[in-house]
Every structure is written in C-alpha cells, then in structure tokens.
Symmetry: C2
Subunit: 316 residues, 2 copies
C-alpha cells in the first residue's frame, strides 16, 4: 500500500471498493519489487505468488484478472533479454494458472534495475468477502502462521557478507541454501485464504517487507477489541536462525523482512489445530500456532523466550 | 499493454474480463512511465490522465478505483523527496477527483529513475460497455482526433538538441513552449468517452507512444471490415511542425510519440461534426475530422499531402 493514500482502508492488504453495481465489491492490490533470486522462471513464480498474496490475506481466494508490471534492466545483454524476460513471464503465467487466474495485460518499460510485479483484482458479491472487516480478534484467539520465516536471510545473506566479510561467509556458506526459501516464496497462499473462511478466522494479513512483528503490529492496531498479539514461537527455514546470528537480519526479533511470506491468521483457539492440519494435508507444508491474543493495548510483541522451530520441506 | 500476454484482447486499450458475477465485466489497464516535465504537480496530473485514457478509449467513462505506481529516484536529494513526491501525489489525486474517481492504494519503491503511473479499474454491467468490440469501422466513416499532436516534440526538443546542437536549438528555442503541451497532456479524455456513446462510435483508441499512425495501424488491423484509415489532416500544437523540421520526431510522418494524447474515434460521417462541436463546447478544446475510412487492406496511412493544422489553446 502506498502510504498516505489509503484513507478508507488503512492497514488492509487490498483495497475494497464499492462499485456502481449494488452488492458488488472490487478488491484489488498491486505489488512489485526487485528480483531476489537468480533463476528468472522461479522469480516470475515468486512475483506472482507475492502479488496474489494480498488478495488471499483478505480471505479472497479467487482472482479475476492479473496485470503484469515489468521493468527490463538495461544492464542485461541485449541478446539475453528475450530469454530472461520469456522465462519470467513463463514463471508468472504458470503460477497464475495454478491460482486459476490469468494475465490479460500490463506494462513493460526499460529501467536501470529489473522490476517485477503486478496487479491482482477480484470482483465479488459482498457476501463472498470472507472477512468483511478483518478486525475481530478476541482475547483467547490464537495466531497461526502458514509459512516459515527466513526467506530474505536465505536469499540475501551472501549480498550482506561478500566480498567484505569472507570470514563470516565461511562460517555459514555450507548451510545457506536458497532452495527451501525459493520453494516457500513461490508457494501460493490460496489454501490459507480458502481455509480462513471454513474455520472462521477473525483477522489476517500476509507477512512481507515489515517482517512478522511489523505486520502483526499493523494488524493488531486495527482491531476493534483491546488486544495484544504475543508470539511464543518463531518457525524458521532450517539453518536460518543460525545464519541470522551471523548476518543479523533481526530474524530472532521478529523483524526480518520476508518476500512472499505466509499468512498470519487469527483463529478461535478451538479451530486452530484443525486449520493447521488441513493446511498441511492440502499443501504439504506445515503451519504453526505461533502466538496468543491477550488482553492489551493493540500492540504486538514476542514473548520473553520465543521458541525457534526449524522447518525443512522434503518433497520439493 | 504487455506484448505477448494479451491473447484474448489483442489491440484493445484495456483488458475486458468476465467476472464470477453474471453480466458483470471488469475493465482495467495499467500504465507507467518516466517524468517528462519538470513540475511534479503537473507531472502527477499528466500521469493520471494518461492512465485513465486507456479506459476512456474503450468508451468506459467511469473509473471505480485507481492504484498508484511510484518509483522515487535515488538521485533526488533526501530533503527534496517528501516535497516532490507530495506534489506528484497532489496532482495525481486532483485529476482523479476531476475524473470522479479516487486512489485507494498502490506501491512505491526506490529506483534509479523516477517512475510514475497507476492502474485504473471499472466494474460495469455488460450493457454499459459502450463498444463491446471496438472493431466496427465501415467504409464511409470518418476519423476524429480529440487532441493536437506534438506533445513529445514540445517537451523533449531540448533533450535531443542540447548540449550538442546549440546551433539548431537557437533556431527553435524562441518558439518551443511546453505550456500548450502540458495543458493538453493533463486534460482528461473523459468527455470523448462519454460522447463516443452518444454519437455511436464504431471504434476508438488513444494516441500515445506509437504516434497517431502507429495506433491507427493497430486499430485498423483489428477491424472486421476490410478498411483502410487514411489521414488528410494532422492537427499539431502551435509551432511544433516547425520545431519538428529541426528535431525530427517524425511528426509530419504521423509517428511522433505522444504522452497522454487524444482519442482517435471512428464515427459515422453524419455524426462527426456534431461530435466535434459538442467536444469543444464541453472541454473548450477543438477536435478535428482528420481522415476517412476507405475500402482497403486494414492498413493506415497519410494521404499524399496531409494538411497541417496548428492549434493554440488560449484559455489555459
């Protein structure tokens, strides 16, 4: 969201707009960023997952149309451009197809840096908007996270350490693998959006640039009830906690930025375990109950000694 | 439009998508570019007019929501950023208000260059889509243009000539004024969209980066009937034909790129004059009958000796 413009929908991941047609709402979002992995095809998938995530975070599990936003780097060799751009488009389109949506347009420009992203739009009946106002967290609810943390630790560690800090890099180069992060980033949050409805979620957001705690603070500040979000567990991609001790992305403080991170879902306590189990049954990735909704002052924080849970996905 | 993705809607200025709701269509477009005038407020207006123009070119005269796309140049002094960005937002918002729409979100990134643009979306009943398929040009129709040509000649002449060609610049510096071009670029194409319906247009597009003839070629290639578009008149901003003789933007060939250019509307001959008169009565700017629809092979061209008509708007 562009700060300062979102007067009516502060803190929501997508804009929700009345249309001229009674009972019909427009839900839409745009997001674009700079590539963070080397493989153009996978980068296309990650960008698509990231754009759609803001719809899914609203509990909207269908997307009527995507537009693609592309800035093609001038630094790329002329002969490589068609191939690289073609692979990015293919990745973006393939994941859009997996999400049962498609791309009908967009804009492409030349730019010093690569830019990749898009627009996701859904037109829905008001009654289909799962969380008409995602601000109903109640004391006693629990917090569920649907992807592990640590994507940017995994993909950016070398940038922060090399070439200046070869010594530090040696300590972690053996355990830094981007495969897990890429698999996580290119996974759609769609199942989370579908199950939110089924299990009666009270609020949700997706975890991206501000990190788990940054997005949690934003979400809790918009709740009706005077609640706090307190995290007792931090699920991280395997080895990333260890790596973060060296590169300091503030992962253990809850502030490490994520790309195409998971959904943070506020659920009634009695439903949370079943939500996690069904998520894993469908997607093949675990979800975690990571915190509690307590009486408070609309703030989010870690508990004194949050538990670090390492996650490794085997069936990539 | 992003080439290669627009499989179902080739040549249309906006995507038109079926939604899950019977009879309800989603019409949307995105566009962004690099600033071409120095004043951030006016630049914001121009960007907004340019984004909306692709909806208007479809005969859709209402916009339910806009998202804004912004890349803030790293070259800008840190202390100037809030002011410059604030002025851009103000210009964009003011023109959105004039267009009876608003902005609820967007994305902003840091970038080597400034980037400015957005997304325009309209949700409409199918019956409200003025030109369900804008491909009905008939032999005997005429071509109408709603803004003069020459915007990029006006705003970019100095870039092409200075500092290398001071001699050439001296010849034209006295007559190059950007005021007319800025006034034209920041003018909405909304009235054209409204009147297209009233006067039963058979096809339309807006004139931007490919120039009058480039967009005409695209539009004619998508017509059902075997027609040609032949232009006998080129309306240009005052002095720009003269300037183009020096700087060579191919204005007199019909290929000079425009920013936020006018609508090219295909109208029944009997209705064209009334369309132009009502356009001018409402907007205070002239429109012109610039060409004919002849029997042909779906190509567009200038007549042997096209007439150059200079236009100056006095009441800015």
């Amino acid at each position: 969201m562009l700060e300062g413009l979102d007067n009516n929908h502060i803190g929501m991941d997508s804009a929700v707009i009345d249309t001229k047609i009674p009972g019909v709402k427009l839900v839409q979002t745009t997001d674009f960023f700079y590539p963070n992995v080397d493989d153009p095809y996978l980068m296309g998938k990650i960008a698509c997952a990231n754009v759609l995530s803001d719809l899914y975070a609203m509990g909207v599990d269908t997307c009527d149309n995507m537009l693609m936003i592309l800035g093609v780097s001038q630094q790329l060799m002329e002969e490589d451009k068609p191939k690289v751009v073609g692979m990015m488009l293919a990745g973006f389109k393939d994941l859009a197809t997996e999400a049962a949506t498609f791309i009908t347009g967009g804009q492409t420009v030349k730019n010093p840096w690569f830019i990749l992203g898009g627009v996701a739009t859904s037109v829905i009946s008001f009654s289909d908007l799962i969380m008409q106002v995602p601000v109903s967290a109640q004391v006693g609810d629990v917090l569920v996270l649907t992807k592990p943390l640590g994507t940017q630790v995994a993909v950016n560690a070398h940038l922060y350490l090399l070439p200046a800090n070869e010594e530090k890099w040696k300590k972690i180069s053996g355990i830094v693998s981007r495969d897990q992060a890429i698999a996580s980033m290119s996974r759609l949050n769609r199942t989370g959006a579908i199950l939110m409805k089924k299990y009666g979620a009270h609020a949700a957001t997706d975890v991206t640039g501000f990190g788990l705690l940054g997005h949690a603070k934003n979400l809790v500040s918009n709740q009706h009830a005077n609640v706090d979000f307190v995290f007792h567990t931090l699920p991280v991609i395997k080895h990333m906690y260890e790596v973060d001790q060296i590169v300091s992305f503030r992962l253990s403080e809850g502030f490490s930025a994520e790309t195409s991170g998971g959904l943070l879902v506020v659920l009634p306590k009695a439903k949370a375990m079943a939500f996690c189990e069904e998520m894993e049954a469908i997607d093949g990735w675990p979800s975690w109950i990571v915190g509690d909704v307590l009486s408070g002052t609309k703030d989010a924080r870690l508990s004194d000694k949050p538990r670090i849970v390492e996650c490794e996905q085997h069936s990539l």
